[in-house]
């Protein structure tokens, strides 16, 4: 039996010779051809503004995969469309921080100005408009992007200006890189953002001026075991959300003496948790810190391949990283090693480490079920360490200044600092770096505090997946993994969202649950069916049609999902609802009474 061929395969090639060469190059860029599949499809989407069945057939043949494999990928990831998108594809974020900043009004303006509904394309084919779940740009809320290029806050002027600019044939100007002037640090240590006031920090010269690559120099004189030991002693924990001790993770990579296969290191730059944007800012402002971290970690795990998996929407960060890698290469820092950047296609779930591996392998991002863990069986079955960007960046300073110094900055079991993304109802949304254990209030103050006359209602401490804190809890909270755990929530990836007294908690929860339902990969049943169910019940409540059993039913459904699903996305559906309903129940009940 041979696989059936769709009729499309017989048609003439949809690509020029030059385009074909580009696509062929993607089959050769990575150790396994399929690792270039998503990137090749990105090219196709950009050329054709969609991926047709003819395109799919060509890609399937080129990469030696089945047609349904390619179609699964194309229909899974929102970046690809099967119907033509506009030449200018406008994405407006509708998640919590952007919603609080007026995303709804911005959407209305886009739709009115373009004369189309959400998800449609203008009849001239020039524009399409979509409300998307997260752009990783809460510091620009309500953020919008055109063709994956973050444009900034969708103020009426910005919207009109951007549309005019596109009509004239060019993308609008990009916003200035953030946080050139940091708030005073109150004397507390900053590691990664200390020199953000230098506009040239992204250059090798500036980075070196502030001691950059000294950690790597030190690492070169150390054994892999000693590097791992230093990182373990530093109490560095994963800053992408899980908080797993980093040195311990590295130590689970099997020795090549036992199993002689390639080892891979992947920087997880797929920051997609609503409320989090610190990795984007760190990469845009301090790219060499990531390169240094990758070199050090790569040595620790004896990596044969080093990758940065970056979300597609971080176009600018990617450009800056590419330039920095070139600069480092030219300066001989990479010593012949390669650091390759590979992109996802705009799916939140790709940020989950095992789903990230699937995405890297050119598949739809259905998380795997460890064991085996990625450190034993990762990219194409080879041991792979997936570390968050900020985590990797910390390793340079740890080696340069010593594990004890780093550990001493933080709290027991959690060393150093964390870079917080602060957004929502604060005056100065942006990144703020503080040592582990810093009071949440200090961080909110650093972000300028609330607007005049407003009082704090609640804080989401670590990104929308983390249970909410009441104002009272928040003002007494210390920001580190263990302190927040004792409050029933998580540090997550440090995405602090301040919610003032104007916040509608029912709507906030609905936005979070709708996000989870939208981003659920659909692999396991409780998450696939449960997340949409929860979101729909909340939507009905917002329409004033809630009834008495709804709240208990939501809590029950949350419990029925928790502990039964494959990955962390599903696990958050219940606790987030539980925290919101538990802490703000009267507000939810008021919705029921109103019906």
């Amino acid at each position: 039996m041979t696989p059936a061929q769709a009729p499309a395969a017989a048609k003439a090639s949809p690509f020029t010779a030059e385009q074909k060469a580009t696509l062929v190059a993607w089959t050769q860029r990575f150790p396994y051809p399929a690792m270039g599949l998503l990137e090749a499809l990105r090219e196709v989407q950009e050329w054709h503004h969609h991926v047709s069945l003819e395109d799919e057939a060509f890609i399937a043949g080129l990469f030696g995969v089945t047609l349904h494999h390619v179609h699964e990928v194309v229909t899974f990831y929102p970046f690809y469309t099967t119907k033509p998108a506009g030449t200018y594809r406008i994405d407006l974020c509708r998640n919590v921080s952007c919603h609080l900043a007026g995303a709804h009004d911005a959407a209305e303006r886009f739709k009115t100005k373009l004369g189309i509904d959400e998800g449609e394309r203008t009849s001239d084919g020039r524009f399409s408009f979509e409300e998307v779940e997260c752009l990783g740009a809460c510091d620009h809320a309500p953020a919008f992007a055109i063709n994956d290029e973050l444009i900034g806050a969708a103020t009426p002027e910005a919207i009109d200006g951007a549309l005019a600019s596109c009509r004239a044939g060019t993308l609008p100007d990009l916003p200035p890189l953030p946080a050139l002037k940091m708030a005073a640090s109150n004397g507390t240590a900053r590691i990664l953002t200390e020199h953000f006031d230098d506009p040239d920090l992204h250059t090798l010269a500036a980075y070196r001026k502030y001691g950059g690559y000294q950690g790597w120099e030190k690492a070169k004189t150390m054994s892999a075991v000693d590097i791992m030991g230093a990182v373990q002693q530093s109490n560095l924990r994963g800053l992408g959300g899980a908080g797993f001790p980093s040195g311990m993770k590295w130590a689970t990579v099997p020795s090549k003496k036992d199993r002689n296969v390639p080892h891979y290191l992947v920087a997880n730059a797929d920051e997609s948790e609503p409320g989090c944007f610190k990795d984007r800012v760190l990469m845009e402002r301090n790219p060499h810190a990531l390169i240094e971290g990758l070199l050090i970690s790569g040595k620790a795990i004896d990596a044969d391949g080093i990758y940065i998996f970056i979300r597609g929407e971080y176009a600018r960060a990617r450009r800056i990283l590419l330039a920095a890698i070139e600069e480092a290469k030219a300066a001989g820092i990479l010593e012949g090693k390669e650091i390759l950047i590979t992109r996802g296609a705009n799916a939140y779930i790709s940020g989950c480490d095992t789903a990230l591996l699937e995405t890297m392998e050119g598949k739809k991002a259905w998380p795997r079920q460890p064991p085996p863990f990625p450190t034993v069986s990762g990219v194409m079955g080879n041991p792979t360490v997936v570390n968050n960007v900020e985590t990797l960046m910390m390793t340079g300073p740890i080696l340069a200044k010593g594990a004890a110094w780093f550990a001493g900055l933080g709290v027991p079991k959690s060393g150093g600092t964390a870079v917080y993304s602060v957004s929502g109802h604060v005056r100065k949304a942006g990144v703020h770096e503080f040592p582990m254990g810093t009071p949440l209030k200090t961080i909110l103050d650093a972000a300028g505090g609330l607007n005049d006359g407003r009082t704090l209602k609640a804080v989401i401490p670590g990104g929308t997946s983390t249970p909410v804190l009441t104002a009272e809890q928040a003002l007494g909270a210390k920001m580190d993994f263990d302190s927040l755990r004792s409050l029933g929530t998580f540090l997550g990836a440090g995405g602090v969202i301040a919610l003032d007294d104007t916040t509608d908690m029912v709507e906030t929860l609905r936005i979070i649950e709708r996000f989870l339902a939208h981003e659920s990969c659909g692999q396991c049943t409780p998450c696939r069916e449960g997340s949409i169910w929860v979101a729909r019940v909340l939507g009905r409540m917002l329409e004033g049609k809630g009834d008495a059993g709804d709240l208990d039913n939501l809590l029950r459904m949350g419990d029925n999902i928790s502990g039964k699903v494959i990955c962390a996305l599903g696990e958050t559906v219940g606790p987030v609802a539980k925290s919101m309903i538990g802490k703000f129940r009267p507000e939810f009940e008021a919705r029921l009474k109103a019906s």
Binding site: M1, A4, L67, E72, A517, Q523, C524
Partner: protein
């Protein structure tokens, strides 16, 4: 591999270390509900239904991915496990259309069955259901209702791993995830019907069976498929209670029966849908003899009195070397034994043919289908056909008839016209004696002097040895149609009529005799064949073909 001991629901079980707990449970008679897991297709662990509690593990575990370890204490019936199973069912059913009254899967649907056994909750679903495609014609044999689909991925894995044809995928994601064929593709491969079996719900239904008869009216009999030399284990589903539902056709469908030695969980579409002949209008139901260009009906008693005597007299007159007997690999071992007794030992026919020719050969592949489209060539070989009993050929027989050396032709279940084409007519008219014994009318039957109706394999019990020498039992699922009789019974009566001994009144009796007298059958027992069957003595080492 090391064996470990542990308990499931308090029951002590033994299993290979690291084997799956869900399998160990099933072997111990404890069913843990599940959808995505299928022993032949792997354990993606996506349905999250087979939750069990394990002492010492903080979270519930999916038992389809849980390796068996020494001393484990597993519970599939504890409060938390039951709650989790019911919760998972509730999610499976949340967006399911609940259209059981018009769904052909009803009665054999694991959503229904599990709801009754493990669900039993009160629905709280008030939202509009997610809508998807309905009634999609996705191939010659399969209909898809993707609203009913629970996305267990069994069919996708079957088409990826077993047929490697990859027609189906799960496209989109989240609650928009949908099982669909790749645009423009049709699930059109030689094994497509299997996806309707492995679909645990009513998403994939069999176009050839759907809406014919509710499954609870069916009787089920273990049998084998006689469509080729593989001899796949099947279950014959018969409808005799409500004949009007299936237009009087008694066989409603064939389903594969798991047999690790022969067909695993599968059968091909050729075999699955190849049963129409059993209840076809072409079935022979009565005996007839052509006398003076007139057809006369006979009883079996009259036939037993007349036919053997006629044959025996002709043999005496013209020499038995002029008698040609064309048998078939469709015959059971018991039939072939009786044939040997009659035609070889008693009548000493000059030409015997069992092996397949162009009339009984077709496509084959690496999965199941064999070129020889009959089930018992290896059995015939074990009984000496083609060995100590020399086989003739279609060509020799034609030459013999044309040259006048062959005066008599006795054909069982085959049609010389299918091999000889035009030449058949002239040749057959030269015959002094011709008999056709079989299940359906053939071109040859139209012109043969004697026509004897025999049972279809579902109407008699018998044993068959597949090309690997694997002997399986097919049990009678139906009464013989009309006057049809088992072939062995017909020939046994003829042997007796000629003064020989044939002390058997059942296939079982004949088989037992074979096990005592035939070297290849030594050591086998009728009851010992069980549901999977047993290999012939000469086939304990795998052989490539039974028709050698």
């Amino acid at each position: 591999m090391k064996t470990v001991k542990f308990t499931i629901n308090g029951k002590p079980v033994e299993a290979k270390e690291n084997s799956l707990v869900i399998d160990a449970a099933r072997e111990a008679g404890i069913e843990v509900p599940h959808y995505c897991y299928h022993p032949a297709l792997g354990n993606p662990g996506v349905c999250r239904l087979c939750m069990v509690e394990v002492e010492g593990m903080p979270k519930l575990q999916v038992s389809c991915r849980l390796p068996a370890k020494e001393g484990m204490v597993v519970r599939s019936n504890s409060g938390p496990a039951r709650t989790a199973q019911a919760a998972s069912l509730e999610f499976h059913l949340a967006n399911h259309p609940l259209d059981c009254p018009v769904c052909d899967q009803a009665g054999e649907c694991y959503l229904q069955d599990y709801y009754m056994r493990f669900g039993g909750y009160t629905s709280t679903m008030r939202e509009d259901k997610v809508h998807k495609h309905k009634r999609l014609d996705i191939g010659p044999n399969v209909m898809l209702d993707s609203e009913r689909c629970i996305l267990c991925t069994r069919c996708v894995r079957f088409l990826d791993k077993v047929t490697k044809t990859s027609e189906l995928g799960i496209f989109n994601r989240g609650s928009r995830s949908e099982l669909l064929p790749y645009p423009g593709m049709s699930v059109d491969n030689p094994y497509s019907g299997n996806i309707t079996d492995i679909c645990p719900v009513g998403a994939l239904t069999d176009k050839n069976f759907r809406f014919k008869v509710r499954v609870w009216y069916l009787d089920r009999t273990p049998s084998i498929c006689t469509g080729c030399a593989r001899g796949c284990s099947v279950e014959v589903h018969t409808n005799t209670k409500r004949p009007w539902h299936t237009d009087g056709k008694r066989v409603a469908r064939l389903l594969p029966r798991h047999n690790p030695e022969v067909n695993d969980y599968w059968i091909c579409d050729e075999g699955r849908y190849g049963f129409d002949y059993i209840d076809a209008p072409t079935r022979l139901k009565a005996i007839s003899v052509m006398e003076n260009d007139k057809l006369r009906g006979l009883t079996w008693d009259e036939t037993v009195a007349a036919l053997p005597a006629e044959l025996s007299a002709l043999c005496a007159e013209k020499g038995s070397s002029g008698l040609a007997v064309v048998l078939s690999g469709t015959l059971s071992n018991e039939d072939l034994f009786a044939a040997r007794l009659l035609f070889v030992d008693t009548l000493k026919a000059g030409h015997l043919l069992v092996k397949t020719g162009p009339d009984q050969e077709g496509e084959e592949d690496a999965l199941l289908r064999r070129k020889e489209k009959v089930p018992n060539l290896r059995g015939a070989q074990a009984l000496g056909f083609g060995g100590r009993i020399q086989e003739s050929s279609w060509g020799n027989i034609l030459d013999g008839i044309t040259s006048g050396k062959i005066w008599g032709l006795y054909v069982v279940d085959r049609d010389p016209s299918a091999v000889w084409g035009e030449k058949a007519n002239g040749a057959l008219s030269r015959l002094r004696f011709s008999a056709y014994q079989g299940v359906n009318v053939t071109h040859f039957a139209d012109s043969a002097r004697w026509v004897l109706p025999s049972c279809a394999y579902v109407e008699e019990s018998g044993t068959f040895a597949n090309f690997q020498g694997h002997v399986q039992k097919a049990k009678a699922a139906l009464q013989p149609l009309g006057d049809a009789r088992p072939d062995w019974m017909i020939w046994g009566a003829f042997v007796r009529a000629l003064g020989g001994s044939f002390p058997f009144d059942s296939a079982r009796g004949i088989f037992t005799h074979l096990t005592e007298t035939e070297s290849e059958f030594k050591g086998l027992r009728w009851d010992g064949l069980g549901k999977d069957g047993v290999k012939l003595a000469g086939s304990r080492e795998p052989q490539t073909a039974g028709a050698a």
